[in-house]
Amino acid sequence: MPKLPGLKSEPSSGAYRPHVAARRPGGRPAVKPAFRVLVHHKYLAVWNELAARVGLANAQQFWDHVAMTPGQPPKVGTSSVMKGKHNGPKWPGHSKAIHYEITGAGRIDYQFNPSATEGALGDPHGVVKIMSIDLGSH
């Protein structure tokens, strides 16, 4: 069967290629993320379990939200600004802390900065810092 130009190699029908990773359903995001997503080291293990615990779709919806529009209400799930005196920015230029609730599955707390200049290059870029994750109390 001739290959069509522009298409990456696709397995032919019925072919089994054990060393080729399956593509993620839905493909990658169409646009480049506007924010780098960082997770506190103490929650990296929980982050690594996120997709398994809340489902891949929920995990990706959260990531897409914070990577693109962390300051807006999410299309899926709910978010609210942290209450009380401790909700303020932990770093210059950052937002107040935001609670993102994955419906019936957990809560992720983060702050974001649309024009951070942290890092070795010092170039301006958006950054989201995930401060805590709770997948156990919902």
């Binding site: 997709a51 990531w63 990577a67 942290m82 209450k83 005196k85 609730e101 810092k129 805590s132 109390s137």
Partner: protein
């Protein structure tokens, strides 16, 4: 506000639809034969009024318990989660709740109260976890690592 007044006999006559229409618009007052007054209002409004009333009472009881000093969470009733906050934050909470109750009462819509309570409860849950509390209430550190989009 209930303004339209009907008689019990109206329910069997042509005014029945007017009675229902007035109730759907916000309230219809029905006078029984002995003058006993009954009101029909939309269910959503009745639920909002009940929610405003019960929340206001619970808030008053919790505030009273807190004013006596070290209140145990059980003494705060449905606001037991306020134990996660200090005095300053509780003052802020009661200020916000009072405003939300006033708006809800005026509009007969409990949404402002529900939004206020949900947001404060969410923060209380976050602060009840020792590790999360340490990070959320502490100074910002640089112990962060970049992560990629979750994939299969």
């Amino acid at each position: 506000m209930t303004t339209a007044v009907f008689q019990a006999s109206d329910l069997a006559g042509a005014k029945r639809r007017q009675f229902i229409g007035a109730a759907r618009q916000g309230g219809a007052l029905l006078r029984d034969i002995d003058g006993f007054a009954l009101t029909m209002v939309p269910l959503a409004q009745l639920e909002a009024i009940s929610e405003v009333a019960s929340t206001a009472v619970a808030a008053l009881l919790a505030a009273a318990a807190l004013s006596r000093g070290q209140a145990r969470p059980a003494e705060l009733g449905r606001f037991a989660w306020l134990a996660a906050f200090d005095d300053d934050d509780r003052v802020e909470f009661f200020d916000e709740l009072r405003d939300a109750l006033a708006v809800a009462e005026a509009t007969r819509d409990a949404a402002p109260v529900e939004t206020c309570l949900r947001a404060w409860r969410t923060t209380a849950r976050a602060l009840s976890d020792p590790l999360a509390r340490e990070i959320l209430t502490g100074l910002g550190d640089e112990n962060y690592a970049e992560v990629a989009r979750p994939e299969e």
